[in-house]
């Protein structure tokens, strides 16, 4: 049972420059809840990838940071939410070096490797929601 929703921070994304701010905010947040230095970097890079995807494919969206608990574990949950066109083929999107926009195509699979848990849901009607977690 994961206890959710503590200390929710909302980061809004509408410009390219917001990507770097979101990554920095995530780093500060991870530091505050007690992540080791290396993990702070991994989390901020993951947030940077998710934020970059939002700006590239949906133009705007939000990232929510929150503190979660499970048994005696504490962790961070990052929810990246947009109302963009959605991802047509989720299986392909999770493959390394697959991209529809001429980028490296490591964003989603890379984010999965940077974090501990990874969930994605996407539809053309509701956009894309990516939920990732990392435990201390």
């Amino acid at each position: 049972m994961i206890h959710k929703g503590k200390n929710i921070t909302k980061l809004e994304l509408s410009h390219e420059v917001d990507v770097a701010y979101a990554a920095l905010d995530a780093k500060t947040y991870a530091k505050r809840i007690g992540f080791a230095t290396k993990d702070q970097y991994l989390i901020s890079t993951a947030v940077s990838e998710l934020a970059r995807n939002i700006i590239t494919y949906a133009s705007k969206g939000c990232i929510f940071l929150s503190t979660i608990d499970q048994d005696l574990k504490k962790g961070i949950e990052v929810v990246a939410d947009d109302s963009g066109p959605g991802i047509h083929d989720l299986e392909k999107a999770m493959l390394d070096n697959f991209s529809t926009r001429g980028t490296l195509g490591v964003g989603l699979p890379g984010t999965k490797r940077l974090m501990d848990d990874f969930q994605i849901s996407s539809s053309s009607a509701e956009g894309t929601t990516v939920t990732v977690r990392k435990w201390i």
Binding site: Y41, D96, G110
Partner: protein
């Protein structure tokens, strides 16, 4: 007549009582009015104080936002800090980058290179905390472009967290030479240079002299003992 005077007295008494009551009422209402005025003024003062406090808070938060905003490089700023040392072009990057500012740096470095005679280029990423796949791609392509112009590039200043992130992202790192610190990058690029050898050997001889002096001193100190 007696009745009349009694009636008149009663009337006078009543009149006096009414006048006194009216006077009392007037005093009270004036007091009330004054205290109301004081309260109204106090209220107004409080409102002004609240407004001042609110505008101060707003100003502080705006200032904080501005301070935060300046920590990420703005692609509009035209000047990029670069300098040459020991024949190497050093590009220190001191702040977080947007994709556009990374492209801007790429353009500025490529413009600068043909005008210089160089041993190589050093990109110092000490000030950058987050390098995601897109930024890495821009740097990696910049390095390939510099290579095609005829110069090697060394990236320096990557911290362990950034390195771990790059590895997890599984981006291509084969074409990139890195060094821990600026000095290491400089010696990688200039190791064939005569100047470097002369400096090193003179430093070495100086070191040996110092050791001789130290031994001599130690010897003189030991003699009396």
């Amino acid at each position: 007549m007696t009745d009349d005077s009694g009636y008149k007295r009663a009337y006078e008494r009543q009149k006096a009582a009414r006048e006194k009551a009216e006077q009392l009422l007037e005093t009270r209402s004036r007091e009330l009015y004054e205290s109301h005025a004081i309260l109204a003024k106090a209220n107004e003062d409080l409102r002004i104080q609240k407004e001042t406090a609110e505008s101060a808070t707003k100003a502080t938060s705006e200032l904080l936002t501005t301070m935060l905003r300046t920590s990420v490089s703005d692609s509009k700023s035209d000047s990029i800090v670069m300098y040459e040392t020991q024949g190497c072009l050093v590009v220190p990057i001191q702040e977080e980058l947007s994709k556009y500012s990374a492209h801007h740096i790429q353009r500025k470095v490529l413009e600068r290179i043909p005008a210089s005679s160089l041993e190589g280029v050093i990109i110092d990423l000490t000030g950058v905390a987050v390098i995601d796949s897109i930024l890495w791609d821009v740097f990696s392509k910049t390095i390939q472009m510099i290579k095609m112009l005829g110069y090697p590039t060394v990236i320096t200043g990557l911290n362990p967290g950034v390195v771990a992130s790059i590895i997890y992202l599984n981006v291509d790192i084969d074409n990139v030479t890195t060094a821990l610190q600026l000095e290491d990058a400089l010696s990688l690029l200039t190791k064939a240079s005569d100047l470097e050898v002369t400096e090193a050997s003179s430093a070495e001889s100086l070191g040996i002299e110092n050791i001789h002096e130290a031994v001599a001193e130690k010897g003189t100190n030991n003699d009396p003992a």
